[in-house]
């Protein structure tokens, strides 16, 4: 462990340090509100360190005995994760009054979990990745149970058990990959596989690697909310506190996609192998988006509906992941992962806007049922417009970021000869119009239960406005974000 290693790990370490600081300060002071500001402002430190790393390190810097990297890919996700966490903490300020006396623990758990996710996206070694995954998952399970109602406890327990199960599956998969290639280093695995191919064996023909890939995808699939591992999603979304749901649906999913991208593209990115896992992912993508959209159709609780919607979006993201076996000139080769990164950011701002608007509205109405949003356009005009905008972005109507995100992943798919998958994708988008537009219609058309105005506190307002602005800006002028994503993708594609 050298000073240089500490430098590379500084964003993760500073987040974890901030979590400890929050706990200590919580012991000293009585009031809880300053803690929120401490956490939110404190996140500027890791943000600054990430910026410094982005501008100061050569592109592939690896440290801590070759297990952690600070390449552009990892830093891209650091920005996304820190931004999401900051927004969730600020927007959750009012909501967290429900956690009487435990606001400090809430913030600390969020920060610990995100430090795990940051380490996960930066890990260059599957063992580090596994440890980081556990670090992110255990606080998340506690967070899901944080309301301490029956529903919330059920959510936490479900998350914990299924998370443990999926970790076990993942670990099995990693063991097979290690057995076949003789290394736990992600970049080293590629050499191992290339060695096998050189002997005339077809890598995917080796049942060990095939089993390994399937199990790794299944293990991370839990975090991605991929079918058939999506069972936990609606229950946890319904029971967990809304800020935690926003956090899980974005941060946890982004981190899982990041590590899967890294493993698939770096370790298993050889041409013959890619064609095989691309088919696997494509089939999973089709199942995931179809299942998510069909199940979302009949939901009456908006958080449950968004739970299934997040499954559907995992499906769209998988489309981008599958789009690898392209016309192999390099510009097209990165189109898939680049689309996934753009989509993740677009999805992050969109989902943040949606959940924050829901937090703002349900803080007053107290009901998560869609019928509770009836006539909301009269009770809270601007919040309803912002929520509608977010839902349209999830549906993929221009000029929103969600629309361009879909265009990018679908075009990558068509380019990779997966036109059938893109067709399933667009048909799914049409299906999703039913349930997204139903909420819009309820807000703008139905008679409200009461004429009482719905107001929100300034932090929620600010967070909602910023997220909504983001989804419009990325939807109208996407070029800078795309450029950013392109830099990042070169971290995993060599």
């Amino acid at each position: 462990m050298t000073a240089h290693d500490l430098w590379l790990l500084s964003p993760e370490l500073s987040v974890a340090g901030l979590a400890v600081l929050v706990i200590i300060v919580d012991l000293i002071i009585d009031k809880k509100t300053p803690l929120i500001w401490l956490a939110a402002v404190g996140l500027l430190v890791p943000l600054g360190l990430t910026l410094a790393l982005w501008f100061n390190t050569p592109e592939t810097e690896i440290g801590v005995f070759g297990t952690v990297t600070a390449d552009r890919f990892a830093l891209f996700f650091h920005f996304l994760l820190i931004g999401t966490t900051g927004a969730v903490i600020i927007a959750g300020a009012t909501y967290s009054k429900k956690f009487v006396g435990f606001q400090g623990e809430f913030l600390a758990l969020v920060l610990f979990s995100v430090s795990g996710m940051m380490l996960l996206v930066a890990s260059q070694d599957v063992i580090t990745a596994y440890v980081a995954l556990e670090l992110s998952a255990l606080p998340a399970a506690a967070l899901a149970a944080f309301l301490r109602t029956d529903r919330s406890l059920e959510a936490g327990l479900k998350f914990l058990l299924l998370s443990a199960l999926s970790s076990a599956v993942l670990l099995y998969g990693l063991v097979y990959l290690y057995g076949a290639t003789g290394t736990t280093d992600i970049a080293g695995m590629l050499d191992g596989i290339n060695g096998m191919t050189a002997n005339g064996d077809r890598a995917f023909g080796s049942s060990a690697i095939m089993l390994g890939v399937v199990m790794v995808v299944a293990g991370f699939g839990f975090k991605m909310a991929m079918a058939p591992f999506q069972m936990w999603v609606p229950d946890v979304y319904e029971g967990a506190p809304t800020p935690v749901v926003a956090f899980l649906s974005i941060a946890s999913k982004s981190a899982a996609f990041a590590i899967v991208l890294r493993v698939l593209y770096t370790a298993l990115g050889t041409e013959g192998l890619a064609a095989d896992w691309s088919t696997l992912i494509a089939i999973l993508a089709a199942i995931t988006m179809t299942a998510g959209n069909l199940l979302a159709l009949s939901q009456r609780n908006i958080k449950r509906m968004l739970g299934y919607s997040t499954v559907a979006h995992a499906g769209y993201l998988l489309v981008g992941l599958a789009a690898v076996a392209g016309n192999s000139d390099s510009a097209d080769f990165i189109a898939g992962p680049q689309g996934v990164l753009f989509y993740l950011v677009a999805y992050a701002v969109t989902n943040l806007a949606v959940f924050f608007a829901i937090i703002a509205i349900t803080n007053t109405t107290g009901s998560d049922m869609i019928s509770g949003f009836a006539g909301m356009a009269r009770r809270a005009p601007l919040l309803s417009v912002l929520l509608a905008l977010g839902l349209l972005s999830l549906l993929g109507i221009p000029p929103t970021a969600g629309f361009l995100g879909k265009i990018f992943v679908f075009s990558a798919a068509v380019d990779s000869g997966l036109a059938w998958l893109a067709i399933i994708g667009v048909i799914n988008s049409v299906v999703s119009a039913f349930y997204y537009l139903r909420v819009v219609r309820t807000m703008f058309l139905d008679e409200p239960d009461s004429e009482e105005r719905v107001t929100a506190d300034i932090p929620v307002w600010a967070a909602t406005l910023v997220a909504s602005a983001g989804l419009l800006v990325f939807g109208i002028a996407p070029s800078s974000l795309l450029e950013f994503a392109r830099y990042a993708v070169f971290g995993v594609i060599t």
């Binding site: 189109a335 221009p398 265009i407 068509v414 667009v426 048909i427 119009a433 219609r441 996407p478 070029s479």
Partner: protein, 508 residues
């Protein structure tokens, strides 16, 4: 014209909507402001129309921002331009938007939101006609859904929620396939551009030139069908027309005017610009190969639409179904692209283009009049009406003009368009054209019968105390009547510029 002119034309209504959203609170101010904005935009559009140089032709007044989406793998530009095909349709949009704004005079429910959506709708339709980048075209095409969804579901009547959702799902379903088609065209090797036409003055080589004679990523026939599906739904063509009567019947008057007058033309425009304009020299499949299909679907639409129209008892539903029949003539005209013995006369295509404009104004006037009747009588059910002529002469005259134009009376615009279509297609599809022409006879049937039952006959005591249309009501009526008569007597006003556009479109 200066750089950015067309952007002003497209986004002026949206800007007006923003002003209403942010600053205006008084309903009456909002009405006048919205009407003022649409009239101002119409003036700008008329200037554009006059300024378009027919002698030079091609795409003019190009407005371009190259670095909109600059990445490899999806290089889209912000590209607006006007040519002979789009110019009259833009003019039609400007006219009907102003008419729709006037026709919304009596809206009292949530006035502010209503005009915001109406203006946004106008921007999106203008964008569809003026965008020459395929992705931008698609974006405007999709944006149009949300205002329509809101306008029908909030201000509509009857089963408005069902109809609004049906409209959205049909259109989204169509455009889903269109998106795949667009991406497949763009990603075919050697294309790498979304430009829908070549613009030599800007150094742009468009998709029609780039894909000529090349292998595409997906077989050209499949791409054609994907794109065609979207346009067929929008137009609408039998058998994907079933959203139209519902949406029309349940929409408020002004929205029906926009829907029938302008939105259906997006389908016709796409059919001409894309299905015909891009697929004449593609390898392995040309649009000429499916001209028989176009002609057949067109004739089925014409006859089926007319027969169903005959049986309607609701005035609005009647006008709605007559649109299915009339848009069939557009497709029939387009089907003449196959030509006879290798030569394509442009008459059929010119007629198709002209039919779009004339149907827009005629049906606009019909819906406007039906709206005037409904505002007074509070019913559109034909058996409850009758004898309105004596009480409401102005409304009756307006409907008579619209009806006669619709059944193709010489001297009014409908006649010119339909006769041009028949002239163009008869040589190519003699039998189908003959059957299609029977649609005109049926049109005479349903129009005259409807007028007889609704406006003539014995004096109806029920509506004795209700006044005829007033001055404000008549402004849009007069505007549409003038355009119908003008095109009928002097079709060159529109055909001259369409000829330029069509001759550039036909490549064989």
């Amino acid at each position: 014209m200066f750089e950015g002119w067309l952007s002003i034309v497209v986004f002026l209504p949206a800007a007006a909507a923003l002003v209403i959203a942010l600053f205006l609170r008084n309903d009456s101010h909002i009405r006048w402001f919205a009407i003022g904005a649409t009239v101002l935009n119409l003036i700008l559009i008329v200037i554009t129309y006059v300024e378009y140089d027919r002698g030079v032709g091609g795409v003019q007044m190009v407005d371009r921002y190259q670095d909109w989406i600059p990445v490899d793998g999806l290089k889209a530009e912000y590209l607006l331009g006007i040519d002979g095909l789009s110019a009259p349709l833009v003019l039609l949009t400007g006219l009907l938007t102003a008419v729709a704004a006037f026709a919304s005079w009596r809206i009292t429910l949530r006035v502010r939101e209503y005009f915001i959506w109406l203006l946004v709708l106008s921007t999106s339709v203008l964008g569809v006609f003026l965008a020459l980048d395929f992705l931008l075209f698609f974006i405007f095409w999709e944006i149009e859904l949300i205002p329509m969804f809101m306008l029908i579901s909030i201000w509509g009547s009857g089963r408005n929620r069902y109809s609004a959702m049906k409209f959205v799902i049909f259109t989204l379903g169509g455009s889903a396939f269109m998106l795949i088609g667009i991406l497949a065209l763009f990603l075919s090797s050697g294309v790498d551009t979304f430009a829908m036409v070549s613009i030599p003055s800007e150094g742009i080589e468009g998709i029609p030139d780039l894909i000529a004679g090349k292998d595409l990523l997906i077989p050209a026939g499949v791409i054609w069908f994907f794109l065609f599906t979207a346009f067929a739904v929008k137009m609408p063509l039998w058998p994907v027309h079933s959203w139209l009567p519902d949406a029309h019947t349940d929409a408020p008057t002004a929205v029906s005017i926009m829907l029938a007058g302008v939105l259906l033309k997006m389908g016709g425009y796409g059919l001409l610009r894309i299905s015909v304009g891009m697929f004449q020299e593609t390898k392995g499949f040309q649009v000429q190969d499916v001209a028989w299909l176009l002609a057949t679907l067109a004739v089925i639409s014409i006859i089926y639409g007319a027969v169903v129209t005959l049986r309607q008892k609701d005035l609005k539903r009647l006008v709605a179904f007559s649109s299915v029949s009339h848009m069939g003539f557009v497709v029939l005209g387009v089907s003449s692209i196959v030509g006879v013995g290798g030569t394509v006369t442009h008459a059929g295509l010119n007629g198709a283009a002209l039919q779009m404009v004339t149907h827009g104004t005629i049906t606009g006037l019909m819906f406007l009049t039906v709206g005037l009747v409904y505002d007074r009588a509070h019913t559109r059910y034909i058996p409850d009406l009758g004898g309105l002529a004596l009480r409401w002469p102005l409304i009756t005259i307006s409907m008579v003009i619209a009806g006669l134009a619709s059944l193709g009376l010489p001297g009014l615009s409908g006649f010119v368009a339909e006769i041009t279509v028949f002239l163009g297609t008869y040589a190519v599809w003699p039998w189908l054209t003959a059957i299609g022409a029977f649609g005109v006879v049926l049109a005479a049937g349903y129009v005259l019968w409807m007028m007889q039952r609704t406006f003539f006959g014995p004096r109806n005591e029920r509506f004795q105390d209700i006044e005829d249309a007033n001055f404000v009501d008549m402004i849009p009526v007069v505007a549409l009547v003038i355009s119908i008569v003008a095109i009928g007597v002097f079709p060159k006003l529109v055909t001259e510029i369409f000829k330029v556009g069509i001759s550039e479109l036909v490549r064989i």
